[in-house]
């Protein structure tokens, strides 16, 4: 492979806590500023300092943002992993190596640049303590030089990050220049090149958790409770930042929001229920272990019909699992979280734009449905930076659902908390504090009738459960529909959700020239809307792509459409790394080949 323009990956191997984040972000932003689509994936350990960490920048003219399996340029800075990192590089690749690192035997079809990073940084930073941090900027200079990133853009990108610290900026810029000068003097240019384009103008770069936080703010959140857990903490922290900035009166110092860092996730969801019960727009954000703790209250929210918005930024389980790796394996537990007969509404963001939109929509749905609404994101979406169109300001006001005021009660003259007045399974509620003799209501998780009175009556229990099932049918018509792209005459359909979307986009482009034309359904929510059945019915074989071991989405589809179950095949990826296109291509081709042989 020689002379690849705007289609390659740079893989940087460093040590956690060494300050490589700024360096990697600088490289990524500089490419973005040159108009070339990029994505960055941070592969980090569950550790504060000292363990290996990797950052992969994918440069793609075509705008592919999924992970790629192979990398083209390696920056090896970590002695612990350098042997393995180098061994993973294929023919034609470029290896930028910190001089003195252990190396395996390297075949001659790899280009190796040994750089005396330490020597280059020493004259710039007299204090040895800070060298460790600044040395990363030298590789920024080296890489920028060999792949052809405009030095001005590197400077701009660095300025954007360190602009407020002129001293640090100056030192770091000097390090970048030292790297560039060294490369210009001693190294050739790599076959992998960045060339200016105009494909990022007007676009933004943002992490999914940040986007979700913005959505929640514009959705009118008034209460957040949370307990720190990776990879969801950055959502709560970003939200706190936005709310402090835009929702606290600068003159009076008074806030239109309350944030509580709870003592655990049981308390976090309990606080959400208390606040929602009073009419606040309340949410919590968590990840696997925290989700498990929220189980009992989720059932309460479902049965007593109290709105709640719960973001689950999925990481790898079970148990503590791999806390800093990505997964889609919470799906089944979220779908039925709680003992007893429950089923929940789930939004499935695939993009940072979805995160923003669902930040708002989740509140509308929870209040409309008086039910828990989960947003199932993942670490890849939540904690990595994604390119996107800018977000749109909401056009609709908001939907606060069926709430009766004192005036309503006077007009109607009657209030029954759990009566299905409108035939959609959704009852009316009153908020505590409503000044009307009819407003009071006793909310309980034990058996209750339409008037919210305690009962263990068999028929009444079943009737309430049937109404809740009916409400779920109503939810089907309210949740965002899937996005369907039909290829004419295609026998094969692909169904995916969440971040698998990006790998599917690319996989379809790879499959088409190989004679495998595919249609595509990107699922945005559970319960499934009617388009899902239509999609399954109109294809011979539907590959369900998901990032878990057991085919959890396929299982849900089989439950819902048993007659169509034989059409479903699973494409699975569950090693904690984001799914890549090749995995999908390989698994589909294998199954298709088996099918041909069997015929």
């Amino acid at each position: 492979m020689s002379g690849t323009i705007n289609d390659f990956s740079i893989h940087v191997a460093t040590v956690n806590g060494s300050g490589s984040q700024t360096a990697n972000t600088t490289l990524m932003r500089a490419i973005f500023q040159m108009g070339v689509p990029v994505s960055g994936k941070n592969l980090f350990p569950s550790n504060i300092a000292g363990l290996p960490t990797w950052f992969t920048i994918r440069v793609s003219d075509r705008g592919y943002l999924a992970r790629r399996r192979a990398n083209d340029v390696l920056v090896a800075m970590n002695p612990e992993t350098s042997v393995e990192d180098i061994q993973a590089m294929g023919p034609g690749s470029v290896i930028v190596l910190n001089e003195g690192l252990p190396t395996p035997a390297i075949p001659s079809d790899r280009t190796v640049y040994k750089i005396p990073f330490q020597k280059l940084v020493e004259p710039l930073v007299p204090d040895a303590k800070f060298r460790k941090l600044v040395v990363n900027m030298v590789y920024v200079g080296v890489v920028a030089s060999i792949v052809g990133i405009d030095p001005d853009e590197v400077e701009r990108a660095l300025q954007a990050q360190l602009g407020r610290k002129p001293k640090a900026l100056e030192t770091n810029l000097a390090a970048v220049r030292a790297g560039m000068e060294y490369a210009a003097r001693n190294l050739g240019s790599s076959p992998f090149r960045v060339e200016r384009r105009d494909r990022t103008a007007g676009k933004i770069l943002i992490e999914g958790n940040d986007a979700a936080a913005l959505g929640a703010m514009f959705g009118g959140i008034t209460f957040l409770s949370w307990y720190p857990i990776t990879p969801s903490s950055s959502l709560a922290e970003a939200l706190q930042g936005y709310l402090e900035r835009y929702r606290r009166d600068p003159k009076t110092g008074r806030a239109t929001f309350g944030i509580i860092q709870a003592e655990d996730e049981i308390a976090a969801i309990g606080m959400v229920l208390g606040a929602s019960w009073c009419g606040a727009r309340a949410m919590t954000t968590t990840s696997g272990p925290g989700l498990s703790l929220m189980t009992e209250f989720t059932g309460y929210s479902y049965y007593a019909e109290i709105p709640a918005v719960i973001w689950d930024i999925q990481r790898v389980g079970p148990s503590t699992g791999l806390p800093t790796r990505t997964s889609q394996a919470d799906l089944l537990s979220v779908a039925f979280l709680s003992h007893g007969d429950t089923k929940h509404v789930i939004l499935l963001p695939a993009t940072v734009e979805d995160c923003y939109e669902y930040g708002m929509e989740s509140f509308d749905l929870a209040e409309r449905l008086q039910a828990p609404v989960f947003v199932l994101s993942d670490l890849d979406l939540g904690m990595n930076v994604w390119m996107s169109d800018p977000f749109r300001y909401p056009e609709k006001p908001w939907d606060r659902g069926k709430v009766l005021t004192a005036a309503d009660l006077t007009r109607i003259g009657k209030f029954e908390r759990y009566r299905d007045v409108d035939g959609d399974g959704i009852p009316y509620r009153t908020l505590p504090g409503t000044d009307h003799p009819l407003a009071g209501c006793f909310t309980r998780g034990s058996g209750h009738d339409e008037r919210a009175k305690y009962t263990e009556n068999a028929e009444t229990y079943a009737r309430v459960m049937d109404r809740l099932a009916k409400k779920y049918e109503t939810a089907r018509t309210l949740v965002p529909p899937p996005v369907v792209e039909r290829a004419r005459g295609a026998e094969i359909g692909i169904l995916a959700f969440g971040t698998s979307h990006w790998a599917v986009l690319e996989a379809r482009d790879l499959l088409t020239p190989q004679g495998l034309e595919t249609s595509y359904l990107l699922l945005k929510a559970i319960p499934f809307s009617k388009e899902v059945r239509a999609f399954l019915e109109s294809h011979d074989r539907v590959y369900v792509v998901e990032q878990n071991r057991d085919g959890q989405m396929a299982a849900l589809l089989k439950m819902e459409y048993p007659a169509l179950a034989t059409k479903l095949r699973s494409v699975l990826h569950y090693d904690g790394l984001p799914i890549d296109a090749q995995t999908i291509v390989d698994q589909i081709k294998n199954r298709e080949r088996e099918g041909v042989l069997a015929r």
């Binding site: 973005f32 500023q33 040159m34 853009e153 701009r156 954007a160 105009d198 494909r199 990022t200 103008a201 676009k203 933004i204 770069l205 913005l214 009118g220 959140i221 008034t222 409770s225 936005y242 835009y246 929702r247 009166d249 008074r254 806030a255 239109t256 309350g258 509580i260 709870a262 003592e263 655990d264 308390a267 309990g270 606080m271 229920l273 208390g274 606040a275 929602s276 019960w277 009073c278 009419g279 606040a280 727009r281 309340a282 209250f297 800018p390 977000f391 300001y393 006001p397 908001w398 908020l431 505590p432 504090g433 000044d435 407003a439 009071g440 209501c441 006793f442 998780g445 034990s446 305690y454």
Partner: protein, 349 residues
């Protein structure tokens, strides 16, 4: 539906006692919890609390069922076992104008809910937190709870050897500004305590010994009616004077202490055996420990600090309830989104 006959008299907001009652109790006849319900009804009536301003909260247990039996016009939230404090915290932040009245049990507070209880106190969420303490799990049929006294005998004959958890001592330790202990069979003491608690700005912990007639009222049980009556050691006589009444309590000098609450109401404590200063936390802990050593139930207002800031001071919320703020107060204008978007827009052309 009422359990107590009404006298037809109206309180200062024009409501009768009946209008503070709730559904008929389904507890065992004679259960201490029902007596506490009676005191709550009476205290709320006397205080002239507007029922629609009250949020009744509870966990799970026989005790936690009782909010259904008082203030039937108020909103109630019968939560899951041990988690009432988190509900209260959410309610308070969403609508800090509500008066929160919570009922829990000793199992609900001192076992499964101990963590949430402590954090509630630590945050000083304004909840009147009543622990109806019978030393057993009533609803699951009489197992020992974590407040069972050392040496207390269960119906089965088993004797508890483990140290009891004293919720009052824990609350004092965490700086709770209102800590009291009382006895379900002493409404004369409990009522002014409740009324004072309604006026307190912050968590008010009231541990009320409340015998379980079905599972813990036998000989050998320390929390039987008989044993509690015999070992009840009140610290003082309590009189509550609400801020809207201008009554002078007439006691000989040197016999009383008076504490003024945040809303201007006053608590007058008339000394019994010895002078007791409820503003002294160390003294309060000493009295609790000594009482335990001497097999006495020390009752009364154990600790008071009316000036402690509650959670809202920390959050610095707007005056109106967050729950009902209009859209324009909680959705920033388009220029804010534009500002954020342009800060993220560094792509080149």
């Amino acid at each position: 539906m009422s359990t107590v006959e009404s006298n037809g008299d109206k309180n200062r907001i024009g409501l009768t006692l009946n209008e503070y009652k709730g559904a008929k109790s389904t507890l065992c006849p004679g259960c201490g919890h029902d007596a506490i319900t009676g005191s709550i009804i009476q205290a709320a009536f006397e205080a002239g609390i507007a029922p629609h301003r009250v949020a009744k909260l509870s966990g799970i247990g026989c005790s936690s069922k009782t909010p259904a039996y008082f203030l039937g016009r108020s909103h109630g939230f019968n939560a899951v076992h041990g988690r009432m404090p988190s509900i209260a915290t959410g309610v308070f932040v969403a609508n800090h104008g509500l008066t929160m009245l919570g009922v829990s049990g000793d199992g609900d507070t001192a076992s499964i809910g101990l963590g949430q209880f402590l954090h509630l106190v630590r945050r000083n969420v304004p909840l009147v937190h009543i622990v109806e303490n019978n030393g057993v799990y009533g609803l699951t049929k009489g197992q020992f709870s974590a407040t069972a006294d050392v040496g207390s005998k269960a119906k089965s004959g088993r004797v508890n050897e483990l140290m009891p958890i004293d919720v009052c001592a824990l609350a004092i330790e965490l700086g709770c500004g209102f800590v009291a202990r009382s006895f379900s069979g002493d409404p004369k003491q409990l009522r002014p305590i409740l009324r004072a608690a309604f006026s307190h700005r912050g968590t008010a912990v009231i541990d009320v010994i409340s015998p379980c007639v079905t599972f813990n009222n036998h000989e050998g049980s320390t929390k039987s009616y008989l044993n509690v009556k015999e070992h009840d050691a009140p610290l003082h006589d309590i009189t509550f004077v609400p801020h809207y009444e201008n009554i002078e309590v007439d006691y000989p000098p040197g016999e009383t202490r008076e504490v003024t609450l945040h809303d201007g109401s006053r608590i007058t404590l008339r000394k019994l055996e010895e002078d007791y200063d409820p503003g002294d936390a160390l003294r309060a802990l000493e009295v609790i420990h000594r009482g335990r050593q001497e097999d006495k139930f020390v009752t009364g207002i154990l600790y008071l600090d009316p000036d402690k800031d509650s959670l809202d001071a920390d959050l610095h919320l707007v005056d109106e309830p967050l729950a009902t703020l209009p859209l324009e107060r909680v959705r920033p204008p388009k220029k804010v989104l534009d500002e954020v978007m342009s800060s993220l827009m560094t792509g080149g052309a």
